[in-house]
């Protein structure tokens, strides 16, 4: 038996090696390479070590303040989206007729490419698009603005896109979390005369705490690393740099200004931010387990 275990162990190691090699070459090496090049001036061919200069330039530039604000805006978008999904979850969980159909309908947009979402909402929010047509027809001309002309309305459209394209997925996760709560709790609270608001705030929210944390963290990480294709098709980071986020700026610096050193410094900053977020999340969820 022992010998058998031993051969199994050797087979495990031999079989995992090709997978690790792929990860090492195409995932871990590029990360290290990025971190290394963040300390160099790099045009793609020759790199010259310049210490922290890239970081200093980045933090001193006017762009940095804008970047910080945009990151903050992204972060603030997490809570309303999570709340929206929670409300939808609560309504769906009442199991009215056809709730499964509604669940599918709400989840459908999550499958669609952000490239498509970006193009679609650019058309919908275009100056002469359907939204503005409706707004003018009900005499709300003041709101029929050039949506992509200033940062507040442009970010609003981005929020609409992201909420539309992802609230269904969070709803699904919350529903899975709720199904672990015993039905009897709801029934008895109903008999005790609890109304919807009480049930929502005193039963659903506390019992879904773990799922809510999970959804908020994954949403935040997703907003930091996953929305390049939306920005590329919707606003191109504009007007100016008003909707440029960290991950979009990596693309701009690397492939539009060929400034690979700065691009690497921004990417490294993003890695650090992500590690911090993940660490905080792990610490919180471990503390609760105890």
């Amino acid at each position: 038996m022992n010998k058998l275990n031993r051969t199994d162990e050797i087979k495990s190691i031999i079989s995992i090696i090709p997978i690790l090699i792929i990860l090492a070459i195409f995932l871990y090496y590029p990360i290290l390479n990025t971190v290394f090049h963040s300390f160099t001036k790099w045009d793609g061919l020759n790199s010259e070590f310049i210490g922290l200069q890239n970081y200093i330039n980045l933090f001193k530039s006017d762009l940095f303040r804008l970047l910080l604000r945009n990151t903050l805006v992204l972060t603030c978008m997490v809570a309303p989206k999570t709340f929206l999904s929670l409300v939808v979850t609560f309504v769906l969980f009442q199991r009215v007729r056809g709730w499964k159909f509604f669940r599918s309908a709400f989840f459908l947009p999550s499958m669609i490419s952000l490239v498509v979402v970006g193009n679609l909402f650019r058309a919908i929010f275009a100056y002469r698009g359907p939204i503005n047509t409706v707004l003018s027809s009900i005499n709300l001309d003041i709101f029929a603005v050039e949506w992509f002309g200033n940062w507040i309305s442009a970010w609003f459209v981005i929020f609409v896109c992201l909420a539309w394209a992802s609230f269904g997925l969070s709803t699904l996760i919350f529903l899975a979390g709720l199904s672990q709560i015993e039905e009897s709790i709801f029934e008895s609270s109903k008999l005790d005369g609890a109304n919807w608001f009480q049930m929502f705030f005193y039963i659903v929210l506390p019992m879904l705490k773990k799922s809510i944390e999970f959804v908020m963290i994954t949403t935040l990480i997703y907003y930091f690393i996953g929305i390049f294709s939306l920005l590329f098709t919707l606003t191109r980071g504009g007007p100016g740099y008003e909707t440029t986020t960290i991950d979009y700026l990596i693309y701009v610096k690397a492939f539009q200004s060929n400034d690979f050193g700065t691009a690497s410094a921004i990417a490294t900053t993003l890695i650090v931010i992500l590690i911090i977020i993940t660490k905080v999340y792990i610490t919180i969820s471990n503390r609760e387990k105890k």
Binding site: I19, L23, Y29, F106, M111, I112, N119, L120, I225
Partner: protein
Amino acid sequence: MRKEASNRRYLLVRKMQRISLFVTLCIMAVITLYPLFFMFVTSLKSNIGYLMNRLCLPKEIYIENYKNMLLSFNVLIYLRNSFICSGTAVLTTVFLSSLAAYIFTKKPFRGSKHIFTLVIFSMMISSQILIVPLYQIFSKMGLINNFLSLIIAYTALGLPYSIYLLSAHFRDIPDSIIEAAKIDGAGFYMTFFNIVLPIASTSIVTISILNFVWNWNELLMSMLMLSKTSVKTMSAAIATITGRFTSNIPLQMSMLIMNILPIIILYLIFQKYLVLGLSTGSNK
């Protein structure tokens, strides 16, 4: 008597509540589905038809947009390219990640826990962070404008999450089954192919669909690595070509429809698996 009356009132209130919930859901569904409806309806309008009537159904169905897309914009080539890249990457990702999940959960070796943690941590790595070095690696290998570059990149990026999700499912397979197989003389690979994979087939379908959708929807890498028309993917084509006809919204919409059609078909067929798989990963 009084009790009966209050009972009836209670039932009435319940019924009113149900109806109001149903109406709320209907309104939300209309809001959610309207953008898709708009996309579809607009794609059936001529450009002038759209300018005159932005919101409602077209007066007459205009299929020239789709004809145009198929005949003069090479859409079929882009769709084929997307299928080749996404599909092949799914096969490699799923095979490698299920093998890895099998090893991590059922056949661990000394130190495998640390490697697992390392793999899980790389879930948060995105293509933007890797793109510059990856591009250089592939151009040194001469793989730019070759499907292989994208297939390899998708596989590497898909592995961590797939390993994570499959491990969560594989853990539910009882160890006794694996032990029994071993006593019956099934070897390492035989156990994997003949026992673990069939038992876990649901989660394997789920992870295949998820990976396919992610690969199909990916933009940055496909745009940079496959830039020639003959190898361009559908996402990249949309992002780069729609700029050429910004004033012709219906034509754009027809292209978008052709991009989401395969995904929607997949979704309708495999919904059940997706719902199952996506809700599992979060509760572990």
